[in-house]
């Protein structure tokens, strides 16, 4: 039986950087009980002798030559920015007041 407490769900929301309301946390706690029970079925057949597949194609390390190719101008790259300044993304403060 898989289950998560409301505090567990609140911690997941914090890790995922989503400020959730109490009501949302309540709903998700209930839903996760049901969903986790359903998805835990994978453990029935996932024995140690079965290799994992992370991707459908057997590709690895696709490189390109290290040459400059045309790309976005600074104006284009910043065109969707919520705020910009001097050709940079302007972001809210990252360090606390005491820093």
């Amino acid at each position: 039986m898989s289950s998560l407490s409301r505090d567990d769900v609140a911690n997941l929301a914090r890790l995922a950087r989503i400020e959730m309301t109490d009501q949302e946390l309540e709903n998700l706690t209930t839903e996760f009980g049901v969903i986790l029970n359903a998805v835990a079925r994978v453990q029935e057949v996932a024995t140690t002798d079965v290799p994992a597949t992370s991707h459908p194609l057997p590709l690895k390390n696709i490189f390109r030559s290290d040459v400059v190719i045309p790309s976005l101008t600074p104006e284009e790259a910043l065109s969707g920015a919520p705020a910009s300044e001097e050709q940079r993304f302007r972001v809210p403060q990252i360090l606390g007041e005491e820093a």
Partner: protein, 498 residues
């Protein structure tokens, strides 16, 4: 004119019976007339579409050699970026964003002279099976406006069924091209993973996402497939091999001597009676056309849904971390003294809808230390078992078949509060994505009990996409001669001048 196939429109353009501007205007008019009821489009690019149409007409007048779909209109799922045209992915977090570049699919469409009419509605970030998870309101199924058009690409499928466009682009992570095709009586193909570039496709689950063609006939779907497919250095998971000859396969429709494997596990209990009846009838028609029908077994498919709802949320929780309110999209709570973290937290709370948050948290859990092996790790092992089931079955048959969905279109709102019931829609389509193979859905008729369309699914091995087109074309021809007219002629009129 708007009820014709894209191939017929193309012929009319070539022989001068019409112009691309006239054809495009006819579709824009149709959109104005019926999209208030259907809500297939999030954005209609009237100016851009007519401009592209004029360019194609001018090129044709100059005698330039044009591709088969030059001048034919298309509806684009709002998860593929098109330069300067709003792209929302059905989410508030991207409202108003205009991408500064074209996705490879869009570049290829533009180069082929295809006219992009606008962006179609979808479940937010392609997470859903009904288009009810769009932040901009649901799309309505043209067969019955109280029902869902499938999802996540319900806007694209509804646009085809409502004759708002003869061609559309979808993306398929767990069935988002095929299930909408099934419930709207249209055709949709998920190519082999890596067959169509993902560059500029806003990522949901990178190891499963695949863009593909949608249309009203198998040949139209093939023509569009060849336009968008091919190796792309901008997508490191793109397959560097020749595009399968899908147009030739769709034109020949030859199934003589082909072995068609019916998947034992994707039928029976849980499948609506009318869905099963149409499926059996299609098998008989394919046998009459010269194919050999055998039964194949895929015992691990029953775990596919569980594995999918671990793998897709895990990859989504990582991919959607990019929506951080810093570089593009919505920013909420940026007042004096607010930290970047609190702005991020508030923006993601306001910008994401319920299903997206549910999956981000589920994925965060499945990938977390202490639970990784039990959930994500186990799901990856199931992925191996499903691929092995396909490989074994394809030793006995050329293609595998099943109903596309267990039921016909359900009512809007019917499953909105039950995520597990909603997830069950994708039970027959998900195995294809897990193995990265090709899958097609085409209409096999309507279910007698509710008069709604039923889809027939064809699955083909990696980079053997032409096989599903051969089988699809053979079945389509047999059904057409039985019906006497395309299935969509049985759909109710939506009003308008069509």
């Amino acid at each position: 004119m708007i009820k014709n196939s894209a191939a017929e429109m193309s012929a009319a353009l070539s022989n001068g019976a019409t112009t691309s501007v006239a054809l495009t205007q006819a579709h824009l008019d149709r959109i104005s007339e019926v999209d208030g009821k259907v809500h297939a489009f999030l954005y209609v690019d009237t100016h851009g579409a007519l401009e592209q149409a004029k360019k194609v007409d001018d090129a044709r007048a100059r005698g330039e050699k044009l591709g088969p779909l030059a001048g034919v209109p298309l509806a684009l799922k709002d998860v593929l970026v098109q330069k300067d045209v709003p792209t929302t992915c059905g989410s508030k977090i991207l409202e108003g964003w205009r991408p500064p570049y074209d996705s490879t699919v869009v570049s290829k469409l533009k180069n082929a002279g295809v006219v992009i009419l606008g962006k179609t509605n979808m479940d937010e970030f392609a997470m859903g099976s009904s288009t009810e998870n769009s932040a901009y309101g649901p799309t309505h199924n043209p067969w019955d406006l109280t029902r869902i058009p499938g999802g996540s690409g319900g806007g694209s499928s509804a646009a085809l069924a409502a004759f708002e466009a003869p061609l559309a682009i979808g993306t398929d992570t767990g069935g988002s091209i095929r299930q909408p095709a099934a419930v709207t009586g249209t055709v949709g193909v998920k190519p082999t993973y890596g067959g169509v570039s993902r560059y500029g496709l806003v990522a949901f689950s990178s190891s499963l996402d695949q863009a593909g063609p949608c249309a009203r006939t198998v040949l139209d779907t093939a023509l569009l497939h060849e336009v968008i497919a091919g190796h792309d250095a901008k997508d490191s998971t793109s397959i560097n091999a020749p595009v399968p000859q899908v147009v030739a396969a769709a034109k020949s429709g030859d199934v003589k001597g082909m072995k068609i494997g019916v998947v034992k596990e994707l039928n029976g209990d849980g499948y609506q009676a009318g869905v099963r009846q149409r499926f059996e009838e299609s098998l008989e028609l394919l046998a009459k056309a010269g194919a050999e029908i055998i039964e194949v077994s895929a015992p691990n498919f029953e775990y596919a849904l569980a594995a999918y709802y671990l793998i897709a949320p895990s990859e989504c929780s990582s991919n959607l971390a990019r929506f951080d309110a810093m570089r593009y999209g919505l920013r909420v709570g940026d007042k004096d003294g607010a930290s970047a973290e609190s702005v991020m937290n508030m923006t993601r709370e306001v910008g994401f809808g319920r299903e997206v948050k549910r999956r981000i948290l589920l994925g965060t859990y499945a990938l977390s230390s202490g639970y990784y092996d039990a959930y994500y790790g186990s799901a990856q092992k199931v992925r191996t078992l499903i691929t092995q089931d396909f490989n074994k079955a394809f030793e006995k048959c050329d293609v595998m078949v099943s109903p596309t969905c267990p039921t016909t279109a359900f009512k809007i709102g019917e499953k909105a509060d039950d995520p597990l019931a909603m997830y069950l829609n994708d039970i027959a389509t998900i195995p294809v994505n897990m193995a990265g193979i090709g899958g097609m859905s085409l209409p096999s008729g309507v279910a007698p009990e509710d008069g709604l369309p039923v889809g027939f699914q064809i699955m083909s091995p990696v980079m053997q996409d032409q096989r599903m087109y051969s089988v699809g074309a053979a079945l389509e021809a047999a059904l057409l001669s039985k019906w006497g007219a395309p299935l969509l002629s049985q759909a109710p009129a939506l009003g308008g001048a069509a």
